[in-house]
Symmetry: C2
């Protein structure tokens, strides 16, 4: 019996578990990982295979992005501090949060570096394919409701989300000693309906890998704002300038007085072809269903187009009903002639913003939504 | 005849000039450089020898810090744009500025990396000794008067000073294409008396190396804010986040919600021993005058102390009358016994802030004012 490369990859974790390696399994923070693509071993960073994109991503198939060793934060005795530029500092237990009006929202999270493996020249960071993205049902309370309870003072600007995970920055500028992962978001986004403090994912308590016992979900924004293992919320009266929005997860912006380095915010429109996969063989002269998924952050997807000739001609794809914050499946049909076939998908959001043809280098190694063809061969 | 190493160094530029190398001489933008210490050949970055620190630094002895190739900005036809969050956009010729009420101020400028050669471990950047500092008489108009003429709108936050010099950033994050050197300063500092737009240095028109025809002088702040070859002043309604105050010329600040990376501002108190120099021989058993210079940015120098035993015991030095923004000379006397002598000087500013004993690594490779001994031998 010959195993394909993928089958081999899928077999390895099971074999390792069978051999009894609980220490390694726990290092992933309960990330599962069976069938997932490992993008970094420790801390564990896992990518979802293309075939699993679309719909609600099962928790064990949801991509995992961790910056530092996964912390263990016990639900028992857990408190969330809400402080800073507020009328009343809060210390909230999980039960305090659960007594508030809970909501469940389907939200797609995408890593700001998703698709980085396609950058030319290669960019620094995790080399994600297209699977650094997932869609889940998150249950929690709106961050706005918690802020209302604390009473935000006039002049508040940012809300800083601080995780329990920490480590030393070794790139320039190095941090002397470990610092906690954090991210500040503007007050308006913090108060928006789509910004939650979540303790459930897909109807189950959060797993450790996904930020248990409490994480932020900032709908429509790249994943760096969805701080896991959340323990502090700090309201500030000036823009927060933490490492993960100045040095890291920042892009060049030339719209102002002079070029600036600004924090990444909303997810850009993107259509991904999930089938056929890159470098596979399809049948010539037969109808081929090209399938994929598309999303546009805070906007709904207005349309998806497909090109079978590398972007010269485009045809409309059929898109499932789309709404903001989550992805939608789409399909299109082509009948390829024998030879190479260059498939390209393009998403346009409800505001008319389409994926750009070319990479904008001002985005550094983030916000990757330029058109990347999927080459296959028809035989 | 045997030349000392210093004499050799001093001899070389004269010899080179005698050999007729105008192309190289002009590369320094008229920086002179005879007797100056070269810290970077191109763009030319020159340090002032210790013996020349104190009093008013002659223009040809004033340290030169350039980030990119020195631009040629002609005084004839020159205009300064004043724009952004203002009532009335201005285009001012040099003569327009000269018709305003001019002022002359003595201001010490220090590079934020001055003293970097003493960092352990070695820090990235120009390896300045203690001479990346100078004191000159600057003539120009207060930036505040120019802003008043343009009419700053309510809600203004920063004033961005943009130079004509430009280049591509090659460190991470690289800038796609060249960008102009710039620096935003808060509106209050922009309006302060000590912030000038200067066209004269020590009673003569600015030289190209020092920013002709117009530069900013932000008294009391490190030199990165004293933008040379100034062509644009842009008022913004939010904090500017240019490269030279986020990635570069920024330090860690842990006073807020969570660690931040913040722009460098005011010069820290510092006393430098100019005589005797490091690793020289002094006479044992004879009175030795230790001399130096001290400054404290926006504050006057309250006191300077000297230790002759590496910091165990301190004695007050005699300090010339000191005022904010400029340096003051000081002297102290010691009678060394035979053997090694470890001299350390310490400045305390008018607010009681003294130089720290140890380096704070949160300052990255900037704001270097920890105590660094000067070791000599008494024979």
């Amino acid at each position: 019996m010959t195993l394909s490369r993928r089958e081999l990859l899928r077999t390895v974790p099971a074999a390792a578990l069978a051999a009894g390696l609980p220490r390694f399994a726990s290092a992933a923070g309960g990330a599962g990982g069976d069938g997932m693509i490992v993008r970094m071993q420790e801390p564990r960073n896992l990518e979802t295979p293309l075939a699993d994109l679309g719909g609600v991503t099962p928790t064990e198939k949801f991509f995992v992005r961790s910056h530092f060793a996964v912390p263990t934060v016990e639900a028992k005795g857990f408190t969330l501090a809400v402080e800073g530029h507020v009328e009343k500092k809060l210390e909230l237990a999980l039960d305090d949060l659960k007594k508030m009006a809970t909501v469940t929202r389907e939200v797609t999270l995408e890593c700001a570096g998703n698709g980085r493996v396609f950058l030319v020249p290669q960019g620094r960071g995790l080399q994600w394919g297209n699977g650094g993205v997932g869609n889940a049902k998150w249950t929690g309370v709106p961050l706005g409701a918690v802020l209302e309870r604390a009473g935000v003072k006039a002049g508040a600007v940012d809300v800083v989300l601080v995780g329990a995970d920490k480590g030393a920055i070794t790139s320039d500028p190095p941090s002397p000693g470990p610092i906690h992962f954090d991210r500040g978001i503007p007050l308006a986004k913090a108060k928006a309906d789509e910004t939650l403090l979540a303790w459930e994912m897909n109807g189950e308590p959060l797993t450790t890998a996904h930020g248990a016992p409490l994480r932020a979900v900032v709908g429509g924004w790249y994943g760096m704002a969805a701080v896991k293992w959340l323990t502090r919320v700090v309201v500030t009266d000036r823009p927060h300038a933490g490492f993960w929005q100045t040095m890291d997860y920042s892009v060049w912006d030339r719209s102002g007085a002079s070029p600036q380095v600004v924090p990444i915010t909303a997810i850009q429109p993107k259509a991904v072809i999930t089938s056929p996969e890159l470098n596979t063989v399809v049948a010539a002269g037969k109808k081929l269903t090209v399938a994929g998924v598309a999303w546009a952050g805070e906007q709904a997807v207005k349309s998806v187009e497909l090109s079978a000739d590398g972007g010269a001609m485009w045809a409309a794809a059929t898109v499932e009903a789309s709404k903001p914050l989550t992805w939608a499946k789409w399909t299109a049909e082509v009948t390829p002639a024998k030879g190479p076939l260059r498939l390209v998908a393009r998403c346009t959001d409800a505001k008319g913003n389409a994926q750009p043809e070319k990479r904008d280098p001002d985005r550094r190694t983030y916000m990757i939504n330029h058109l990347v063809p999927v080459d296959v061969t028809a035989k």
